[in-house]
């Protein structure tokens, strides 16, 4: 019998020739598809695809229900980005506000378009992309920490199906971005403890730097990474390496903080502007009465308030799973170097507790008798921790047990997500709908509608603080040109308009009685000179916190 050589993947093999070869059955479409998917679609890609599909679906869903810009802050964030490109004084100085600039910067590529600005896509797209990235890195982080694909899927599931995050990723808010930067940073911190590679340190630092330009919480997380990296390096090769890693990390991780401080110093001549002025500043809360800061100096109440926020954000079933997973993790790994960065996920918990206890900021939930919903978004940064620890549940026992646990955990997560999304209002959305600023949407729309029907030209003098909803709706719904507004973001023009409004504007719109927050009303209501030229045309009743809205028009002639 003759033989021929044929090449296979494993090398040369000899097969007999001369006999009729029986053709192998062609596999069906499904097995072929399944084989192709197994070869080409990795877990990460699957997570990304699922997250992307949910992201788009829920953006459309909330958009259809008019909830994309339900938060007053989401409107404000879009306006910041918009005025960098389109306003009387466009430019980088427009970023200057209480908020860090990256969310607005990420909106710039699309915000110039009136359509994308109006329907919220320009503002929401960065959040949506961040959500998908967060999902992928959540999977990677849990898989690396627990050495288990199941853990990765459970952790990613907790994040992907979180109702609050699904809502926030559909909006121009900063929470999805902050979570994403946080998860990526911790993933690379974790990788460093496995690879000891400089590139992973740089990537971790880059993620932290990104986070520090999104929310101030991320500054604290950035600081918390330092001792973990230094300790890892010190254990490996002593002081010199610890110093090198610390410098390498800090140079990049805090470059964003330094740039922001420098920016404030150059533009506003005040490096720490955001800390000392505005409604969210330390100074503001230092002067706030105790009844508005119910957790100040009450540790147990702070714990209850924040604990309840986290539980309501993530769902009680997942909290129970995560607590079990946490116990399992501590029992198994304790303070092992390779899993030490996992504890970084708990930093937000400590941070927010401290913030509430010290009275640096506040939060309120009606079920605790503290008033309407406020700042309940603080719970979102704990999703990574709970997801990661829930993932550890799927790492106990033999293979079958692990698979069963992972499957059960995923079923619980899906059930919890569906209930949270469809059987009730997602937790953070309650703040936008029923919270302190909930009625600004309605009043802002009503004011804009009236103004549009009575507007016959001329500039409008208006303060961004405390409520820019009026301007937002005029720009997005009624397509007013950006340059008709003379605002506190226009520097010298605003000062001149305030000094002699009759020479600059036809309309003055103020939130009177808003605790001197309105930067137009605060100086004007003490003066009488301008009243000779303007007449009060319309008054809107006070909403929850921003006082009465009064619209003045310049007298004709």
């Amino acid at each position: 019998m003759t033989k021929a050589r044929t090449r296979s993947g494993a090398g040369d093999i000899e097969v007999p020739v001369g006999l009729p070869a029986r053709p192998l059955p062609t596999p069906g479409l499904l097995p072929r598809l399944s084989g192709w998917l197994r070869t080409h679609v990795t877990d990460e890609w699957s997570v990304a695809l699922i997250a992307a599909a949910l992201s788009i679906a829920f953006f459309k869903w909330y958009g259809a229900h008019g909830l994309t810009v339900a938060f007053n802050d989401s409107r404000d964030r879009e306006l910041i980005a918009r005025r960098v490109l389109e306003s009387r004084t466009p430019g980088l100085a427009q970023f200057g506000a209480t908020w860090l600039p990256l969310p607005a910067m990420l909106m710039l590529p699309l915000i110039w378009s009136g359509t994308l600005f109006s329907d919220g896509i320009a503002g929401s797209l960065p959040s949506m992309v961040a959500y998908v990235i967060a999902a992928v890195y959540m999977y990677r982080m849990a898989r690396l920490a627990a050495s288990s694909r199941g853990a990765g899927w459970v952790a990613a599931g907790v994040l992907i199906l979180n109702p609050s995050l699904l809502y926030m990723q559909s909006t121009p808010m900063s929470e999805a971005l902050a979570v994403s930067a946080f998860v990526v940073a911790i993933y690379y911190a974790l990788r460093v403890t496995h690879t000891y590679h400089a590139l992973d340190i740089a990537k971790c630092a880059a993620a932290v730097a990104t986070g520090t330009l999104i929310r101030y919480e991320n500054w604290v997380i950035g600081i918390a990474v330092v001792p973990i990296l230094a300790y890892t390096a010190w254990r490996r090769r002593g002081y010199k390496l610890a110093e090198a890693w610390t410098i390498l990390y800090c140079l990049l991780a805090f470059a964003g903080c330094a740039a922001w401080i420098l920016y404030n110093a150059v533009i506003f001549h005040d490096p720490l502007l955001s800390f000392f002025y505005g409604q969210s500043s330390h100074k503001y809360y230092a002067n706030t009465p105790d009844y508005l800061l119910p957790a100040r100096h009450h540790a147990m109440f702070a714990l209850t308030l924040y604990g309840l926020t986290v539980a309501d954000t993530v769902g009680w079933a997942i909290v129970v799973m995560a607590l079990l997973g946490f116990a399992l993790f501590v029992w198994r790994f304790r303070l092992q170097g390779r899993t030490l960065p996992v504890y970084l996920t708990l930093v937000p918990f400590g941070f927010y507790l401290l913030v509430l206890y010290k009275g640096v900021n506040t939060e309120s939930m009606p079920q605790l008798g503290t008033g309407l919903y406020y700042n309940i978004r603080f719970g979102i940064l704990m999703i990574p921790a709970l997801g990661l620890f829930a993932g550890f549940v799927a790492t106990s026992g033999r293979v079958l047990a692990r698979r069963a646990l992972a499957g059960t955990a995923l079923a619980v997560i899906i059930f919890s997500g569906v209930i949270g999304l469809f059987a009730q209002t997602p937790f953070v959305l309650r703040e936008a709908l029923y919270g302190y600023a909930g009625d600004t949407t309605k009043t802002g729309q009503a004011e804009a509608q009236w103004f549009n029907s009575h507007y016959h030209g001329g500039n409008v003098l208006k303060s961004y603080v405390p409520d820019p909803s009026f301007m937002f709706y005029l720009l997005t719904k009624y397509h007013f040109p950006d340059h008709v507004f003379v605002t506190d973001a226009n520097g010298a023009q605003f000062t001149k308009a305030l000094a002699r409004p009759q020479n600059w504007v036809t309309w003055i719109v103020v939130n009177s009685g808003s605790d001197d927050q309105d930067l137009v009303w605060t100086p004007l209501h003490r003066r009488q000179d301008w009243r000779h030229y303007f007449v009060l045309r319309k008054t809107f009743p006070a909403n929850s916190s921003y006082g009465i809205v009064e619209i003045f028009e310049k007298r004709s002639g």
Binding site: Y196, A202, A244, I247
Partner: protein, 518 residues
């Protein structure tokens, strides 16, 4: 020096035949400065056409400034900003490519022992190196290569009494011999190399400086790689760094600078193995060549004070490739600012010479190097040199603006930067500069130079020193184009170390890990 090329000098030099002459007794005066690369090289700094173009540019600029000064300044700042932005993008791209390529070389996969050892010639040009000659010989003796297959030529200038007497006094082992270079001008390293290239017997050739200390197995690695790689790979470049990097703050900064260049940028350019037509600026030493292509190419340009960079361009133009060799040669860093500036001035001067030489016929250059090679050449040779010269002016303008903000002068400066110039300029100033600054720190950790990392904080001062060197180089180019600002070697050695023949560096050097993950 302005001149016109003869018609017979214009054709490309790739096919320039090696002149006949008695082996071992080259008539350097006759042809070393008029053969090959020298004929179309930096002997003439600017051609008449270039001089005319430059004069025209200056005249038009003067007219523009005279008639509309503000717009002229805006245009000028716009061009510079575009250049800053483009070089920044290009360098970041190279850094990323370098990181993706890793520090390994195309030669990495060919490290198995060579089947046979061809004759290898080592060229060591010397001038006034008598003091360190014993140490040099001891280091050369450490090269791990069959002695009967190794030819080491110490290239000594005829009138260099110091080195000649040192070579006579110190017993040279078999295989190492001195070779006298006949008197002549320009008395430069490439001229000596050309003479030696004529006499060299080796199939491969490598150039080391007087203070160099190659890793002992470097030649074996080079042979293995050159035998395995395609014949169009004409040159392997080993990494360079310093054995005396702890001598001063400047040597530390210099070591970081070299680590960035040889571990990030050059791998970015070659990405393992350069494409045909790629431009790779060679380092001055530790270039391992196949002799025949080098001879066909016309050797080194004796009038160019960075003959290595020039040769890199000519290799690319002749479709010959360069690869990185995974081996390090340890050199001596200049430890004091004044000689450091002198050395840097020579480098920038040479880069300017190289730029002017190859831009005589830009279209031909573009055709020969291809778009990517052409961009690499523009950015690394022309752009980098120009920006080093411009940097102090821009820094001064920034400081002036910050100090005069709100005044008439401040307002005037502000009007020079419309948004289309301001924002790219700001990006270049902050983001690019930060990336390059951070890259220094990154390289320290990536390549196990962790004891240097704190010195990266001084990077801006180092940049200022580089600009000082650039200006010195420009002035030297105008006043004395072929003057070779020689670097003094052996300054890190005590007299005892130098004369006792202690192999320097082995006392101080810690190995630089090629792929270190700390």
């Amino acid at each position: 020096m302005i001149g016109r090329l003869n018609k017979e000098e214009r054709p490309r030099l790739a096919a320039a035949p090696m002149p006949a002459g008695p082996a071992g007794a080259p008539d350097g005066e006759h042809w070393a400065t008029s053969w090959g690369a020298a004929r179309d090289g930096a002997r003439i700094v600017v051609t008449r056409v270039q001089a005319f173009a430059l004069a025209l540019l200056v005249a038009l600029s003067a007219v523009f400034v005279g008639t509309a000064a503000r717009y002229a300044l805006i245009v000028c700042l716009g061009i510079l900003t575009a250049l800053y932005f483009a070089t920044g993008v290009h360098k970041v791209w190279l850094l990323i490519r370098g990181e993706l390529a890793g520090t390994g070389s195309a030669a990495d996969s060919h490290h198995e022992e060579a089947d046979e050892f061809p004759l290898y010639t080592v060229l060591v040009p010397l001038y006034r190196e008598g003091r360190i000659l014993p140490a040099l010989v001891e280091r050369l003796k450490r090269i791990d290569y069959p002695p009967e297959r190794l030819e080491v030529l110490l290239l000594i200038e005829e009138d260099d009494e110091e080195t000649r007497s040192a070579a006579n006094d110190y017993p040279l082992p078999p295989g190492i011999r001195s070779m006298l270079m006949p008197a002549g001008q320009p008395r430069t390293k490439p001229r000596a190399l050309n003479i030696a290239l004529h006499a060299a017997l080796g199939e491969y050739i490598v150039v080391y400086d007087a203070e160099d200390q190659p890793e002992p197995d470097q030649l074996r690695k080079a042979v293995a790689a050159l035998q395995a790689l395609p014949p169009d790979v004409a040159c392997l470049q080993a990494r360079l760094n310093f054995y005396n990097r702890h001598q001063s703050v400047l040597t530390r900064m210099f070591a970081i600078d070299y680590a960035v260049w040889y571990n990030q940028f050059l791998p970015g350019l070659t990405a393992g193995l350069a494409r045909p037509n790629a431009f790779v600026p060679l380092g001055g030493t530790s270039n391992h060549f196949r002799v025949e292509p080098l001879r066909k190419l016309g050797g080194w340009d004796p009038f160019n004070v960075t003959e290595d960079c020039d040769l890199g361009v000519r290799l690319g133009r002749a479709s010959l490739r360069v690869a990185m060799l995974d081996s390090t040669t340890w050199e001596e860093a200049v430890p004091r600012p004044r000689p450091w500036v002198r050395q840097r001035s020579r480098w920038v001067k040479g880069y300017l010479q190289t730029y002017l030489v190859h831009m005589r016929r830009p279209v031909q250059l573009l055709r020969e190097l291809g778009v990517r090679g052409f961009i690499d050449f523009q950015m690394l040779v022309g752009g980098s040199s120009l920006l080093l010269l411009v940097n102090p002016l821009m820094w001064a303008l920034t400081v002036m603006y910050a100090e005069s903000k709100g005044t008439h002068l401040g307002n005037f400066i502000q009007t020079l930067f419309p948004p289309v110039i301001y924002y790219p300029g700001l990006l270049s100033l902050i983001v690019w500069n930060f990336i390059f600054f951070y890259c220094n720190a990154y390289v320290c950790v990536r390549h196990d130079l962790i004891d240097l990392i704190r010195y990266t904080l001084l990077t801006p001062l180092y940049w200022a020193l580089m600009s000082l060197g650039a200006w010195a180089g420009l002035i030297s180019l105008i006043r004395n184009p072929s003057y070779w600002a020689k670097t003094e070697h052996g300054v890190s050695l005590s007299d005892a170390e130098a004369s006792a023949g202690v192999p320097i560096g082995y006392l101080h050097t810690e190995p630089l890990a090629g792929e270190a993950t700390t």
